[in-house]
Amino acid sequence: MITVKNLYKKFDNLEVLRGINETIERGEKVVIIGPSGSGKSTFLRCLNLLEMPTSGEVWFEGQQINAPGCDINLVRRKMGMVFQHFNLFPHLTILENITLAPIKLKIMDKASAIEKARKLLSRIGLADKENAYPAQLSGGQKQRIAIVRSLAMSPDVMLFDEPTSALDPEMVGEVLDVMRELAEEGMTMVVVTHEMGFAREVATRVLFMDNGQIVEQNTPREFFTSPKNPRTIEFLAKVII
């Protein structure tokens, strides 16, 4: 579904990604972990071209999306993204946050967009918040809304960029629960996270990145019990699991 070939990304003179080759199949839940500065987020942001790769190819559903002539705006409709800092639109109500893209991009008419948004909201237990503004919600609530906002576009894949890193500890659980549910429904997911518990339970595959490269990958069970690369072993020894 997503194929990355020989991906390089440079910021000025800093080489952040150094030759990544990876394929993500439909239905997979790929969790990317690694020390900070290893290029995890940059890699994720290259998948929907929020960062333009310096060289290499990114393919999505049989189309090279970083080739000239590809309409990236159409591609992004099918790739939902959830950010560390939620990035809800503060000037719009919750309902408007969710329906803005489907309505303005003419994917749905207003009535059915609202109906879908309400359905999604009640699924995450926030149906009573539809007229609230983002500033009135807790971090956990905001992130759940942000997930739902992406889902309103009916994406084929969801990209999560450290979705729980900016949350108070007691709110991490509610966000992970929504993601877990999503995984169970069969959504293809690529998740950059520091939540090892989530990686262990939900991932079908764990990628370990260091220094701009994927140095090891495996099923979560194998990955956490018998890591092979010395950098992985060192990293896992430092994190609390």
């Binding site: 929020l50 705006n73 800092h85 893209a101 991009l105």
Partner: protein, 245 residues
């Protein structure tokens, strides 16, 4: 006792009689208030249309400049916009007005009011541009990324997500700019436009009294500014709904 009251009321009634006479002489005789009325209309006309030109130029320049910052595109246009703001902000508005009327429109027979509108519009645009640019830059990059990741184009992201938030933030600064613009148009008399300030001068030249016309002109400007401020405050409150916690 009576002499004390007389001592106060006598000068008071003298003053009142003088004031009354002055007032009639300056505003009623020969319908001189009409100068003020026409001057007011002229000032409002110049301010209103100059503000519109200023907004159009200002938003355009601000969008060009921020697009250049965010995407690296429009380099040539960005250079022109930078030059424009530098020149306009670096020279006095009276000089700009005179150049527009006596140099640029020297060979065409242009209505003076129109020349003033063009001059003040171009002048205001430079200030509006900087205000709008600061407003756009104050919006978190994450807002643009969120918009783009949902499939909005850069332009649509700006329109639906960034500009509404930026507009709310810059409203006080914009109001300030238009208040300044309204008062700045008082120098359009330099090209013999018959605006409000000029109307005061005209009355003064007929009646040889400075006090009445000047105070009247000042009061009218004050009322206009207070009215404008009240409108903006209402708008600000309406746009501030999403800040409620």
């Amino acid at each position: 006792m009576e002499s004390i009251i007389n001592g106060i009321s006598q000068p008071l009634s003298n003053w009142w009689a003088g004031f009354r006479e002055d007032f009639i002489n300056n505003f009623i005789t020969d319908n001189r208030w009409l100068f003020l009325w026409r001057g007011l209309l002229c000032t409002l006309q110049i301010t209103f249309f100059a503000a519109i030109i200023g907004i159009v130029i200002g938003f355009f320049v601000a969008l060009v400049r921020t697009t250049n910052i965010y995407t690296g595109k429009l380099r040539f246009l960005n250079g022109i916009c930078k030059l424009y703001t530098t020149v306009i902000r670096g020279t006095p508005v009276v000089t700009q007005l005179l150049i527009i009327y006596y140099v640029i429109f020297a060979t065409v027979n242009i209505e003076k009011t129109l020349a003033a509108i063009v001059a003040f519009g171009i002048n205001s645009g430079a200030y509006v541009a900087e205000i709008v640019r600061s407003g756009i830059m104050s919006i978190d990059r994450g807002q643009i990324e969120a918009g783009r990741s949902l499939g909005f184009s850069y332009v649509k992201t700006m329109w639906y997500i960034v500009m509404p938030q930026a507009f709310k933030n810059i409203l006080p600064a914009l109001a300030n700019e238009f208040i300044a613009l309204l008062k700045e148009t008082s120098v359009s008399g330099y090209i013999a436009t018959q605006d409000l300030a000029k109307a005061g001068d005209i009355i003064q030249s007929r009646t040889y009294s400075a006090y009445m016309p000047l105070i009247a002109v000042a009061l009218i400007y004050l009322v206009l500014v207070v009215g404008l401020t009240a409108c903006v405050n209402r708008l600000e409150r309406r746009l501030g709904r999403s800040d409620n916690r």
